[in-house]
């Protein structure tokens, strides 16, 4: 008898996070899935483009210098592309995009990354070898 009470209490505890997880997923179901692609620019910029089935959504771009550590870069985007011109040479930048509608934000899109090229090193040792 005592055991059953303990067991049901344990069950309740275990199912609590499960319930929260389900609620989250259901919340995210309201918004669309996003397909994100990257077209890397050459002159210190990264161009992102994505597709979404949600026509009334606004989008938020997240950026980070390591995979999985992105933070919000710009929200309220109404078009499905964004060009990031504030990138640093020689870094690799990671991005994902979310869609929002009526204050509800979707889960992140697939993550994409772009390596921003560095300037070539400055040549050294310039000298005249012969003159006539």
């Amino acid at each position: 008898m005592k055991n059953t009470a303990l067991l049901s209490l344990l069950f309740l505890f275990l199912s609590l996070p499960l319930y929260a997880q389900t609620a989250k997923v259901q919340r995210r179901k309201n918004t669309s899935t996003i397909g994100l692609t990257i077209t890397q620019g050459t002159q210190h910029q990264v161009s992102l483009a994505w597709s979404s089935t949600c026509s009334a959504c606004t989008f938020t771009v997240y950026r980070g210098l390591t995979s999985g550590s992105e933070t919000g870069l710009l929200s309220g985007i109404t078009v499905t592309n964004y060009t990031d011109t504030a990138v640093t040479n020689g870094t690799t930048d990671y991005y994902y995009v979310t869609a929002s509608q009526s204050g509800e934000e979707s889960g992140g899109s697939n993550e994409v990354s772009a390596t921003i090229p560095s300037n070539p090193p400055t040549p050294t040792g310039l000298a005249v070898t012969s003159v006539k």
Binding site: N89, P120, P121, P123, S130, V131
Partner: protein
């Protein structure tokens, strides 16, 4: 048949005539420069810039590739002084390096 053979031989021997060494005679001036090979990727070329007033530089040459680190400028005039600098340019990323140090050379008359 024999005619054809002679014709072919004639064509072969009449190869384009390169300027003989005389064409670069004693009056012909040049300045040769070189710079360090460094460790550049294969998409890099070098741009050579020249000035004859130490102020206004114009690009006068692009190397074939990242391993060509010499250039002979045979468009110089005797008695003038020229300055050069070189920059690396990545043809893939479109990124250019900073300018190298400047080297200045007077051409004998």
């Amino acid at each position: 048949m024999r005619k054809l053979l002679f014709l072919a031989l004639g064509l072969l021997t009449a190869a384009p005539s390169f300027p003989s060494s005389d064409a670069y005679g004693s009056s012909r001036h040049y300045i040769s420069v070189q710079w360090n090979k460094g460790s550049y990727g294969t998409t890099v070329v070098f741009w050579l810039f020249r000035s004859d007033d130490l102020t206004h530089y114009a690009q006068i040459a692009t190397t074939r590739n990242n391993t060509q680190t010499t250039w002979t400028d045979s468009t110089v005039q005797g008695g003038k002084t020229y300055s050069y600098y070189v920059a690396a340019y990545d043809t893939l990323t479109k990124e250019e390096s900073g300018p190298s140090d400047i080297v200045t050379q007077a051409v004998p008359k």
